[in-house]
Assembly symmetry: C2
Amino acid sequence: MTGRLFVIGLGPGNPDQITPQARAAIEAATDFFGYKPYLDRLTLAPHQTRHASDNREELARAGAALDMAAAGRTVAVVSGGDPGVFAMAAAVCEAMERGPESWRGVELAVVPGITAMLAVAARIGAPLGHDFCAISLSDNLKPWELIEKRLQLAAEAGFVIALYNPISRARPWQLGRAFELFRKHLPADTPVIFGRAAGRPDERIEPAKLGEADPAQADMATCVIIGSRETRVIERQGMKPLVYTPRFAGEAR
Amino acid sequence: MTGRLFVIGLGPGNPDQITPQARAAIEAATDFFGYKPYLDRLTLAPHQTRHASDNREELARAGAALDMAAAGRTVAVVSGGDPGVFAMAAAVCEAMERGPESWRGVELAVVPGITAMLAVAARIGAPLGHDFCAISLSDNLKPWELIEKRLQLAAEAGFVIALYNPISRARPWQLGRAFELFRKHLPADTPVIFGRAAGRPDERIEPAKLGEADPAQADMATCVIIGSRETRVIERQGMKPLVYTPRFAGEAR
């Protein structure tokens, strides 16, 4: 008997940003896999079991979840944000492709969520209002040279750039290097947004300028958005400024 | 007296993908602006008023909403998907920047939603599992040359590419031209996904290969995802194939 596997996006942390579809999947599952801080967000019933794991063990976690689903259980793998963006959905597919044939028979349902860049953008205006890209700054799974190449081509293309996994204790210099590279391509007053815990009580959304952007403003849970040449700031009396990227660009301005 | 303006993302169309935060904002507002098909998704109370408009009139619509909010009403502008991605949040900011000073005093709250590419990706696996970009293929608001430049740099960078607004009656050839351009940079078996109405009863999620991808498979409401060289397909007996992009890339493979 083959079971089901949900890969569920919990959004950036505000419970009001969890979709009813995700809530229903959580109710349906009996076994929960995920990085502990994400599992901690759930209120489970007595018949539901947690299988917490460390952040670095995505592939092993995905395999364990597939194995249990293949045995007939209804299993959930939970991610913060959207599970398809630098998160568990790809890890589950990787594990399925490498694993035993029985895993391929598992009914897989990915439940989308609000990914960090959308939540951060919403809190400050519309910085992603025009063409944009999302790049993980982690060089654990790809060479730094490839990341630099992408950052450079993205800046050349005029994309607004959302950086995921910008910094960590094990990767302290990469964000500073990225800022240096952007400074060669973009004006010093290009808006930069440090967005952390959007929609949560400990939210911190800090606008800055590329010329003065300090990597120390970011941590592991920050999404950093770098504007394009088109990105604008609206100052407002007694209120936070808005940052947005117009829908038009180039000669069509 | 200054009122409030919500800019609300309704997600791709499945009511179970509307967040509780969006539901609460809809309940709080008295006046609703938006493209008619999005307004049609709402069930409003007798004291709530619809102000429908055509798809092309974003800036006028944003101005009308700001004007009413500045006069003290609680106003909602609704978008499909996420309002910050090629949608109304940027139009509202544009209108605010150009408009009278009183509009800047409006309390603006952007409520994020599940954007099309996330919903489409979830229904087929994890094609956005690695670095990706989102490009609007509409040359109404930017020159086609700029779009071609971005498509080319995005392919060179190895991004998975999500195309919004791929085709319409007024823009019939752009998607075909984009495919031609990608075929110069990417292998013919690169996975392409035509994703329409994800999560709705009329959903159509069709995987294809770049070499054979036919622009006629898309319409205005389709999100087209073009894989990178890393994107993979998992065939499954008696089930739909999965498409995903691994978390690793390059030498780190």
